[in-house]
Symmetry: D2
Subunit: 346 residues, 4 copies
């Protein structure tokens, strides 16, 4: 007893919904150029709505009288969906790659504190084979009394580090007014976790001609992360790397709970590369290596970690930065796992 | 284009599901005596399954090849559902009532520590018009090094307090082997939050002839709480009071996050009375009164709180117990809110 | 055996920390102009650090070798702390007040959709005695395919509504580049939940001469909310109203879990007024009234709710908007609870 | 300026605490045979309490007047702490080992459904080199309408599977009244996640002479898990394997959020072996392999997974069971990661 159609979502009418209320929903779907399949029942009537996703998204179906729930059948994202674009995306910056077999290995200081600290760190991580250099110029900090970054001066130092090591730069954009300063310098523009739903910023990087590293917000669902990526993609920029960095839960022994299950889900849901930041999730150095190995083993397309010549003097996130002196051993262990999974360092 | 039927759940087949996989699902539904309505589509085919809930619950539909998700249309609980039994349930014990306009006011010591402390507390709260006396004889404690309750001796003391005050007793059952000791003494049997999904215990109180106070587990959803109540009801005992006592979240300034939104949802979903325990959620005395007022204002059918003559000497939960000397003011403020909502103290 | 001093934080050295590591911490505190009290022990040595909070905040103590944990004794916020400024703050806009006995009652459309819808809603809520008018001109939306607000046109319409009703306007600032358009029009500038840690935006409103309504982020702790307020205050603007609007938890029957316990905590921690948004937490209309009553009963200084002439046609958040036709009854019930607590509608 | 002592916990007195309140705390510590170091300050006075942990645990310090917070310096667990017993524990059952370099590989059906299904699964996983056989005889189920296990009959079938394969049996104890039936049959007694704080059950297995597999509750913190293990150990049984199986968070694309960061923390905190159950966390088959690899890579001492000859016909957890036909490939990939970390299959 099959009926042809293409339901984008299902509207469940409550047990006490009247026939008039059912008819009203159908009429509104009709008006909007969508159609409806109705399956009435003893306790709940279900209406399958068929039509263009964008049209349906504008209908306030949940507010209609008698509607109990609206169940989406199709995912609300499109451009970033693997279902619609099965081929994996590879991001490239100055010859280094992330995605589809290329394991991105991004390291560097949490924050640019001084020229010496930055260059020393850059040299150390470059020597151990990392593929991109991270470093914060503008730092969002929870406390207004904490160090906020060197700003433009940091961008100068980062460029010097790039010139010396050849590593492409990953640095954060925090404010739409910094676009002119940051975008030309960055090789990959980072959107920080707290800005994952700063839609103004997402639109800006969606119009930039640089790859974007989009970090998951600490309370963002996998679906919200993909919707944030969709914002960027919709402006024309599909060179996006997603980054899991831990979510907020009741557990207090780690700063955030690194959600590697979501990395496995994302690899299934999207063609975009997915990397992991174990440093921020852990909040302490001794957990960064085990979590980085686990990230590689779950199938992530790379990691991003923090390193410092003397973490005990770091102005920011000292407890979680890997001492440059120990970085070689760290890199070796992570590389082994990535290679076991058939990846090549990008 | 309406079709008659009664879908209990919807089976969404993935975009890449084959016709054979769709047919296989339909065949299995047929075998089980259920029927199916199929709505095939461009990107997802939806099968509405129609049949007895208990039959459908035994089919492992999510494991079938090609199935992407199974969406229940009907709630998984039945006996406790307001949809099926619209009239509110009233629980009665020794003439005191909870539910349908009767506001249950349960107070007493966290734990029976001594005869004096228990009798003094019982007298104080009785004098301020509470309707039931709470008190723990057996205490589940997170640490094996903490005080575990006086056991049988506490049950003796509680009976003495009941004899003197006339208040019905609410006390916890922690172990199926204590049924013979606890059930005859208790007027209302409490199932603690950590035992909300101790299904063996739920079955025991389901066979008892006393009302049950079922506390929500700190990580239990509203639906899981209702399913736990369904376990009790299914054994024949529908005299159940649900109790919201806070859920586990990332927020640390309170011990648990009191979820009053769920109380409002429960009042909609079930005919059972719903009360609130503000003491355990707060974890500190100065928050108990505001949260108790809020519980009354959201529409709860009662509260359960802890009191002690000298909280600073309490062996358990001292910080959150209301000093008996302040109980009168506390009771007055809560009563005012309950009465504003048209409730009468039960 | 008392020692004089003023420890701002305690540094716990691990059981295996060496004397050299203890000495190193003390030396670094000395260098920074702070002093230290040491309590060595069998299994853990504790160092109390004494000095200016701002100085201590710059020391990366957690990164020092041998340090196991750093326990702050003083709260990290200062300007917004009730301990340091015990008198409650009252926010005023066009003669309407929030705080210290004045209950702010803010209502209006979720979003300005049309001139008619906005004016009709404004008139309806004004007639029922609300004290401020809310309305979104720029809307942050999870999906890029959803309605994003009318922008400047909406600001025009809101001003017309203000002219007609006399109600001060509460509207959201989403982008630092909108400061010139939004700040002069708004009477109270709203910072939305997703922007609670958009520190650039916080600095902007910290320099504005209008009161700020700061919404708690869905995964922000009470402490993070207060630190965000501290960002605003530190720029010179202490006219801040905090707003609880629900946090993200595992519970799915409400959109967010309204955390009224945190409202009680905030009333204790800060002199700033604290209001509650029950509409966004609930996500469905029938829960808004019970949660609004509970907010008033817990001691909140006001509420902010959404209303619409025909919620079933709303372009945004239809399911949770109160129909204007039912607004009178809603307002009456909330007012009764606020008055029971001795508040006067602001 | 060092003082000798051994503070077990720090008591922070509020800014407005009086000298009398400070003296009262000190007097109570004295009475209990503990001593105190006082560090008074401008805004907070800190009292370090020194004495036996068990004595201090009985003092209701948080309830004392003037006390703002009590900060434990030492961990509340002792027997399971790595600090006190640095050597890693190895669990052994019928010659198979878990811990200290031995990677436990436990597999088998979710539930014993029939003799054929169980024996077929046991043979298949044994052939691929697993080290222990899991299988549920009594099943805790969220819904009272779902299949609850075959009980004693299942225990018979499991013994037959053991006789044939030589694999030790891991099976769950749900009820203290089942001790006589389950303990003699089991080689390793499982305590399920929902029973992690069923203290009666913990005491029972603490008195049994079989190793215990203790699963983390879905809302239990690392500390609560260790306290539950302490309950078992304190009764005399220190042969405990801890098991991470996912915690409850807001994320919905996986059933639970597998918390591998906590595994890394546990390896640091305790000498007990720690294994991971990726099947229950994932809730879907395609995520089990990536999560199992990640578990091995983070340093877990083993995994426990579910397998079934035809998952689509399973009566329980079908979607997450690995088909026996695919088990060889699964085992090979997990083994490679474990061996890369220098582990040997136990």
């Amino acid at each position: 007893m099959a009926i042809t159609g293409a339901p984008e979502l299902l509207i469940v009418m409550g047990a006490s919904a009247t026939q008039d209320q059912v008819d009203e929903v159908i009429a509104r779907l009709d008006e909007a150029g969508c159609s409806a399949f109705v399956t009435p029942g003893r306790e709940a009537t279900v209406i399958g709505a068929i039509g263009e996703r964008e049209l349906l998204a504008t209908l306030p179906l949940e507010g209609f009288a008698g509607v109990e729930q609206v169940l989406p059948i199709l995912k609300p994202y499109k451009l970033v969906s693997r279902e619609l674009s099965p081929d994996p995306t590879v991001i490239e910056a100055r010859g280094r790659r992330i995605g589809d077999g290329y394991f991105g290995f991004i390291a560097g200081p949490c924050t640019v504190e001084t020229r010496d600290q930055t260059l020393e760190t850059a040299r150390a991580v470059a020597a151990e084979g990392v593929t991109m250099l991270r470093g914060g110029a503008f730092k969002p900090r929870t406390s207004p009394y904490a160090f906020q970054g060197l700003g433009d001066e940091a961008l100068e130092i980062l460029q010097e580090a790039r010139a010396e090591t050849g590593l492409p730069l990953v640095t954060e954009l925090m404010d739409p007014r910094h676009v002119e300063a940051v975008v030309p310098v960055a090789d990959v523009i980072q959107i920080g976790a707290r800005n994952m739903q700063n839609f103004m910023l997402l639109a800006e990087v969606g119009r930039a001609d640089k790859p974007v590293l989009l970090k998951r917000g600490p309370s963002a669902s996998v679906e919200e992360l993909l919707m944030a990526a969709e914002y960027v993609a919709r402006e024309g920029n599909e060179r996006i790397v997603l980054c899991e960095r831990g979510i907020k839960t009741f557990e207090r022994t780690t700063r955030y709970t690194l959600d590697l299950g979501s990395v496995a889900v994302l690899k299934h849901e999207t063609h975009l590369p997915v990397i992991v930041d174990p440093s921020h999730a852990a909040g302490r150095r001794d957990l960064v290596l085990p979590l980085a190995r686990a990230a590689a083993a779950v199938g992530a397309d790379g990691i991003i970690v923090e390193s410092h010549p003397s973490p005990e003097e770091a102005l920011c996130d000292g407890p979680q930065q890997i001492p440059t002196a120990e970085f070689g051993e760290f890199a070796r262990e992570v590389r082994q796992v990535a290679e076991l999974l058939g990846k090549q360092i990008g």
